[in-house]
């Protein structure tokens, strides 16, 4: 161990130097060991999420000050069972620890986080980590749960055998993280400089030996009372039941979507009222001018019509993060494995696909847990077919304008059912596309499906709230940057050039946007789009929800609608066939530049984003054509 080094003097000098700049610690551990909860408890709100350069592995960094006043930066490394680095995630963990990462300095101290109720795999990893040359401490996390289950751990014995400090902790309690900070302080005070790593990839035989060493430690230092089965087994008996489990999963998904619609109504009404009020007061205070038009018609109306969907996004992410923290997402992957496996995907594809319901970008990024490159690519290619929340604005707008607020079978809301059908179509087509790709384009071995099913945990409100907050900030940042600039662009396009003197039609007919829309319209006429829709689709390429803002701008400037009555305007001007066609278009259309950008970065070539754009555009046009023509025949024109 490093601490046994005889070069005390050199160590003291190094420690003095190190005291000047913040100490760097890294959290390492198996997946599901409560590492992120520990990270949140240590750093509180002082954290930022970014990416490692070159790869889209989420890099979580935070900072805190120890009781002794030492500033410490913390990196939360992706969870892993070994340092072999099979997936991009695990490679990051290995490279940071071995000092091979370009952007992150090698940490001064490794904080190994272990689940106290399941020590053996982490002990094995600790044995592997002892060859990397960085001082370590072992945090026995979830100590409270272990105590509750009657598990006793001889901390002194374990610490003596491993040669490192072991600290019981519980991320849930303030006390636990306080103690850990104190211990980190003590460690940093007499820290040696990190030695050269002499790690090399372990052979199967070495893994076995390390396992047996870990097992022997568990046998000697951990005693467990046989107090019957814990809650996880009882819950699993229901949630993993072959029939009940699937029904519950479907019910959970259905409930989430109903909640997204019914709970969000009040805050959404409040936001649109605020936007209308802002618009009205801006108009009454400011003189009639070009600038006022830009502010009200362009910025406030446009950005407001996107921000109004924040409540739905927050609710969706609330459920996803809540279920993840509870431990249900792994069960969902288990239940869905055979189904997604039938399409040539992987049980692990389920979580990226589910994240894509919120946004394809985190979905595509979450595919990095899939080690097999072909299965990862297949998952990436179909992720944007999952109905992301950016489609919700478009869907809600059209559904609210065209689908009556009726009850079906006295129980389900018809609008909710249509929404459910749109989601279902997205899912089915994703599976169909994945199946076709895997069958005809990328044939190959499928990757092993091996996944830990973590014990159920009561989700921590604080941790869920922080996750939701981060997603909301990402969405608002998008609204403040890309969407805002698109709104200004579309306002410009729809305002200039001015209509000629004595023009009869609405002014926008003579603008650039009008010209573009009219130019594209012949291509889109067979699928029932009028020129206003065609115009809105152009800025809608930046992000799907921008189309709603663009429509609002187009109709507001065209003088067809006032205030927030976009729904009424399109309800009066579009046929039902056009509405259905546009809904269908949005299931498939590749209307998101950011997604294509992320795919480019993830696959490291322009080939796949181009393939994605092409196949999605073709699907969108063909499907919309089929729906529009069928609807016309059925008399909905």
């Amino acid at each position: 161990m490093m601490l046994d080094s005889p070069e005390t003097e050199a160590r003291e000098t190094a420690a003095k130097e190190a005291a000047a700049k913040p100490a760097r610690i890294a959290l390492v551990g198996n997946p599901n060991c409560g590492k992120t909860a520990m990270f949140n408890a240590l750093t509180g709100s002082q954290q930022k999420v970014a990416n490692y350069p070159g790869v889209t592995v989420e890099r979580k960094e935070g900072a805190f000050v120890t009781p002794q006043g030492r500033r410490v930066t913390v990196v939360d490394l992706p969870g892993t069972y070994s340092l072999r680095g099979r997936s991009p995630d695990e490679v990051v963990t290995r490279d940071v620890i071995l000092g091979r990462a370009q952007s992150v300095e090698r940490p001064d101290l490794l904080v190994c986080v272990a689940d106290s109720t399941n020590l053996r795999l982490m002990l094995r990893l600790v044995l592997e980590l002892s060859s990397v040359g960085i001082p370590m401490i072992l945090v026995l996390n979830m100590w409270d749960i272990a105590e509750y289950r009657g598990i006793e751990i001889d901390i002194a014995g374990l610490s003596r055998e491993l040669g490192i400090a072991c600290i019981p902790a519980s991320a849930v309690t303030h006390d636990g993280s306080l103690r850990l900070r104190g211990e980190i302080d003590r460690m940093l005070a007499n820290l040696g400089t990190a030695g050269k790593p002499h790690w090399s990839e372990m052979s199967a035989g070495e893994v076995r030996d390390a396992h047996h060493a870990a097992d022997s430690m568990v046998a000697r230092y951990v005693s467990r009372a046989h107090g019957g089965r814990d809650w996880t087994d009882r819950i699993d008996r229901v949630l993993l039941h072959p029939v009940a489990g699937i029904l519950i999963l479907l019910a959970v998904l259905f409930l989430i979507f109903q909640a997204v619609f019914s709970w969000a109504v009040i805050p959404m009404d409040m936001i649109s009222a605020a936007v209308d009020w802002l618009n009205a007061s801006a108009r009454s205070v400011l003189p009639e001018s070009l600038l006022t038009s830009l502010l009200t018609d362009g910025i406030i109306t446009g950005v407001g019509s996107v921000i109004v969907f924040l409540p739905q996004i927050v609710i969706l992410f609330f459920f996803i993060i809540l279920l993840e923290d509870f431990g249900y997402m792994a069960r969902a992957a288990f239940l869905m494995d055979r189904i997604v496996g039938g399409a040539g995907l992987h049980g692990r594809s389920f979580i990226p696909l589910l994240s894509s319901f919120a946004c394809a970008i985190p979905g595509v990024m979450a595919t990095r847990v899939i080690e097999n490159p072909l299965q990862r690519l297949a998952t990436i290619m179909v992720a944007p077919l999952m109905t992301c929340s950016a489609r919700i604005p478009v869907y809600t707008l059209i559904i609210a304008a065209f689908i009556p607020h009726a009850k079906v079978a006295g129980l389900f809301d018809l609008q909710g059912l249509v929404m459910f059908a749109l989601y279902a179509t997205g899912i089915i087509s994703a599976f169909a596309v994945a199946f076709v790709f895997r069958k005809f384009v990328w044939r190959g071995e499928s990757e092993p499906f091996i996944m830990e099913l973590p014990g159920y945990k009561r989700p921590m409100l604080r941790s869920v709230a922080m996750g939701v907050l981060q997603r909301a900030i990402i969405f608002l940042r998008r609204a403040g940057t890309i969407i805002l600039s698109m709104m200004i662009l579309i306002w410009f396009l729809s305002t200039f050039p001015y209509a000629p003197e004595g023009a009869t039609g609405p002014a926008i007919n003579y603008s650039f946007a009008g010209m573009l829309g009219h130019a594209l319209q012949p291509l889109l006429a067979p699928i029932g789009f009028n020129w206003q829709i065609s115009v809105a689709l152009i800025p809608g390429l930046a992000a799907r929800e921008v189309a709603v803002g663009a429509l609002a701008t187009v109709y507001a400037i065209g003088g067809d609608a006032g205030g927030g009555a976009l729904g009424a305007a399109i309800g009066a001007q579009w046929s039902l066939a056009t509405a259905l066609s546009l809904l269908t278009w949005y299931i498939f259309a590749p209307q998101c530049v950011s997604t294509l950008g992320v795919v480019k970065r993830e696959t490291n070539s322009w080939r796949w984003p181009i393939v994605m754009f092409g196949y999605m555009l073709a699907l969108a046009w063909l499907a919309s054509f089929a729906v529009y023509q069928t609807a016309i025949v059925m008399g909905m024109g």
């Binding site: 053996r120 893994v207 097992d215 489990g245 494995d337 049980g347 092993p448 091996i450 099913l453 014990g455």
Partner: protein
Amino acid sequence: MPGSARSILSGTGLPELDSAVHSQTPIKLSDGRRGFCGVVVSVGRVANAQGNAPGSSAPGEGSAVHAGLAQDSASARDSELERRLLEIGFVEGAKVEILHEGFIGRDPIAVRVDSMRVALRKREAAAIMVQEIPSGNR
């Protein structure tokens, strides 16, 4: 490493299992049914990981046979699977219990491995040989 599984078994602190273990023929974990309780005797040494009809390939006298097979057919893929199974806790001597089966083709399966639960497909489970612990010895 001929005979390694046996020698490891006797060193796992589970001496009470030894007599029970030797009375049964090892089977693939993928052939076990819900409620099966056993102990891992070898990992990643089955040449034919595809076939999993019960009893179709009962492996003779234990680990020495598997070791021999492994030397002939060891590929990078098999060794990758072996290490992944080891890393998640399927190591010789580990106690396993099949907790749940998927609703289509009883696949995948959820297995308790010592103190944790792992989900895996039968294809992967076929690479793990287990020996049943008779219910009296559990």
